[in-house]
Amino acid sequence: MPYQQREIVASPSGGTSVPPNRLSQLLATMSATQDRGSFRELYDYFAPRLKQFYMRSGTDEAMAEEMVQETFVLVWRKSHLYDPSRSAASTWIFTIARNHRIDRLRREKRFVQKEEHFFEAELVDDGSQDRDVDQPKMSLIINEALAELPPNQAELVRLSFYEEVTHAEIASRLQLPLGTVKSRLRLAFGRLRKKLAEFET
């Protein structure tokens, strides 16, 4: 099935709209040349989204904005670790924001880990060839797969990613048996993975 580059609709309130491959190019350019213009475009796209992302974790607006700034300091300094053939810009920035959220908002500390490993698909070297991933295509398929999830599964996926709640917390919040929470998440991930099978080696 051919996937066409879909025009992304401008969002009303904050983030600009930029196609995913453009974002990845910007991040790669910035990584290679420390280009301020590319960085600005990335910022205009991601900063409002990350602000909303942090606010959904329960932070107030001022704190969310401060965390966005901290995140972009990290994006600037870590950009040399970005490999556009391996992950989309949004995936890479998501992993930085996710880790930053844990570092800043939890009482417990995140255990020590080499940051660069978050950006590698293959932590295990089994001698097989790394493959380039068709990022724009993968992004479109994920968007479609998310849109096709049954609402009660999609709800749990969004709760997990946006509000970082554990299975037990989801169960008590939605008054569901723990087993139901786990099986819905498992089914959701199964459906997503099925659509994305061609991107896994």
Partner: protein
């Protein structure tokens, strides 16, 4: 060859940043040994990226980009997060997240005896009510008291192997258990079996001897 993996729902919640520190350490250690699960986490992280894309966004204050550039120019870049962490070649048999936490080999840890044939080392990771992350060392041939789980338990073999009613577990293999499981693992080679274990509630042991051991074991 790893035959027993982590469930998809745990891999996805790990990628989402929605696991407690102990469970997260467990999953991170497994994906350093298991390409299959590492791939799945990577897929789930791409889902996270798509979920960032789909947000409408909340506008930033005016001038925030200029503030950011000033901060980048003026802040020293030598903060701790940017320092390269070196792993130790001698410890390469220990998956990196665990290795960096321990800083030494299994044999150099101050193991505490909890019962004949069982030693444990509680890992310094945070957790909520009743959560614990530990290493457990079973002597060869020693039969662990039968126990059931009120909560949820993740076990991964780091050295040696064990067997229970459900099968045989070797290095890298994971057993995920909840309240319905009743098991009695046995270290089944002539080597100590070392497991990484995450529990979100205390274990319950069965039988008279176990009831006597329980308060003293504390596991």
């Amino acid at each position: 060859m790893i035959n027993h993996h982590i469930s998809d729902e745990m891999l996805m919640s790990y990628a989402a940043g929605a696991l407690s520190e102990g469970a997260s350490l467990f999953v991170a250690s497994h994906i350093h040994m298991c390409k299959r699960c590492a791939q799945r986490v990577f897929t789930a992280e791409a889902v996270g990226g798509a979920l960032i894309d789909e947000l409408d966004g909340v506008p930033m204050s005016s001038g925030s980009f200029d503030d950011l550039m000033l901060r980048i120019e003026n802040e020293p870049s030598s903060d701790a997060a940017m320092e390269r962490i070196e792993s130790t070649p001698d410890l390469s048999h220990i998956p990196e997240p665990l290795q960096l936490l321990l800083g030494k080999d299994y044999s150099e840890l101050s193991w505490k005896s909890v019962a004949p044939g069982i030693k444990q080392f509680i890992l310094p990771v945070g957790g909520n009510r009743g959560e614990k992350t530990r290493l457990l060392k079973l002597s060869p041939g020693f039969v662990t008291p039968t126990h059931s789980h009120r909560g949820y338990e993740l076990t991964m073999v780091m050295q040696g192997s064990y067997s229970d009613e459900s099968g045989r577990y070797k290095v890298g293999d994971v057993q995920e258990a909840d309240g319905e499981i009743d098991h009695q693992p046995i270290a089944d080679t002539d080597e100590d079996c070392i497991c990484l274990i995450y529990t979100d509630a205390p274990l319950e042991f069965k039988g008279v001897i176990n009831r006597i051991l329980q308060p003293f074991i504390g596991i």
